[in-house]
């Protein structure tokens, strides 16, 4: 599937209990009973996907706008890896484009 054809969305918000600090976040997944620690970028991605599903390209533009960086290939690659990790943790999911 082409990169632009894939979109991610945040999982059921009610299943996840968040605690945020200046240096990162912890999330408790009531479905699995697992706790995950996220850095600031990870938390930002989940927040953005909670507002609206996005492709990597769209997400890179939204993240860059928040962080003041460029939505370039290195950022997209970083986000691609991060999205895979978050999906593996069950915090986000792939949806149809």
């Amino acid at each position: 599937m082409a990169e632009s054809a894939v979109k991610w969305a945040a999982c059921d918000g009610e299943a996840l209990v968040w605690r945020d600090w200046d240096d990162g976040s912890a999330v408790y997944d009531t479905r699995s009973g697992q706790t995950h620690i996220l850095d600031l970028v990870g938390r930002l991605v989940v927040v953005e996907l909670g507002e609206a599903p996005a492709s990597v390209r769209e997400l890179a533009e939204r993240v860059a706008e928040t962080t003041g960086g460029a939505p370039d290939a290195p950022l997209r690659n970083q986000l691609h890896t991060l999205l895979g990790e978050l999906e593996h943790l069950g915090i986000i999911e792939v949806i149809a484009a």
Partner: protein, 305 residues
């Protein structure tokens, strides 16, 4: 009535028959023992605890210390613990009956308590500022906790931080401090009037001795206190004192590793742990000098009244 008000004969009779009931902190314990000779050591370590709680309080833990083999009970007697069911214990020589009691009490707390988040940790407090010292066996947490107690801190616990789910307060459980190997002689020098039991040599954890909690700690065993800092101590021979501050989120993950019931508590455990992180400075400290380590802890949380 306190345990120390009972005669030796009375303690031995209770241990042999229906059991000796005593209360410490949040828990009432009933102990029976086929080896009543442990009464002398028990009285030294738990003398300040309330006794005769049988009719006034619900008994939380029932420990039966028995001889696992009738044959061996004659030639090389051993002791084993039953805690209203089997526990993960291995038989010990009967001269280590007190060690078996301590091990079984730890197991009861770790496996039964659900109203509190438990961390494998020592806890001390001064002027309302409590410090949690998580650490595995041999990390130096008990030695540092004992040294702090020698410097005027109140002992809340040597083995478990008991964090009340309802409000995040630390509930005292001032059992004896378990000292191992080289730290035994250091603490005997630091507590010239302290009450020590042991040493027990050739235990699975080396040589162990117990230092009784000061009677003032037991007299205040209903006074809970809010946590101020979580400090992970590591004793390293010859090391200059060094310390790192841990970020909150990563700190939560690290503290969770020291909990014995976090996963069982579900969301309530997460909320309690996150509240703890909110309230506390989280640091590591590596030390070889106890004086330096004491100074570090006091600087970290402040001790002014």
């Amino acid at each position: 009535m306190r345990v120390q008000d009972l005669s030796e004969d009375d303690i031995q009779h209770r241990l042999r028959s229906d059991g000796l009931y005593f209360r410490l902190g949040a828990f009432t314990t009933r102990v029976r023992s086929v080896y009543p000779a442990m009464s002398t050591d028990f009285r030294r370590l738990y003398g300040a605890c309330e006794a005769d709680t049988r009719d006034s309080e619900i008994t939380d833990f029932f420990l039966n210390l028995y001889a696992p083999s009738r044959t061996r009970s004659i030639f090389r007697p051993q002791v084993m613990a039953d805690v209203e069911g089997p526990g993960p214990f291995i038989p010990l020589p009967s001269k280590m009956t007190l060690l078996m009691l301590e091990t079984a009490m730890n197991w009861c707390v770790a496996s039964r308590v659900r109203s509190m988040l438990l961390l494998h940790s020592a806890v001390v407090e001064k002027n309302g500022r409590a410090v949690i010292l998580p650490g595995q066996s041999g990390s130096g947490k008990s030695t540092l906790a004992a040294a702090l107690v020698a410097n005027g801190w109140r002992l809340l616990s040597d083995e478990f931080a008991l964090i009340r789910i309802s409000d995040g307060a630390l509930v005292p459980y001032p059992r004896p401090i378990s000292l191992k190997n080289e730290s035994i002689e250091r603490m005997k020098a630091m507590f010239p009037d302290g009450t020590f039991v042991g040493p027990f040599t050739d235990t699975p954890k080396g040589t162990i001795a117990y230092l009784a909690a000061p009677s003032s700690a037991i007299e205040n065993d209903q006074v809970a206190v809010m946590p101020r800092a979580v400090i992970f101590p590591t004793y390293e021979s010859g090391a200059s004192l060094r310390s790192d501050e841990w970020p909150k989120a990563a700190g939560l993950g690290r503290i969770a590793l020291y909990s014995v019931n976090y996963t069982l508590l579900g969301r309530a455990g997460f909320e309690a742990l996150a509240d703890l992180v909110d309230r506390c400075t989280i640091r590591t400290v590596t030390y070889s000098s106890l004086d330096d380590a004491i100074g570090f802890v006091e600087d970290t949380v402040g001790t002014e009244a």
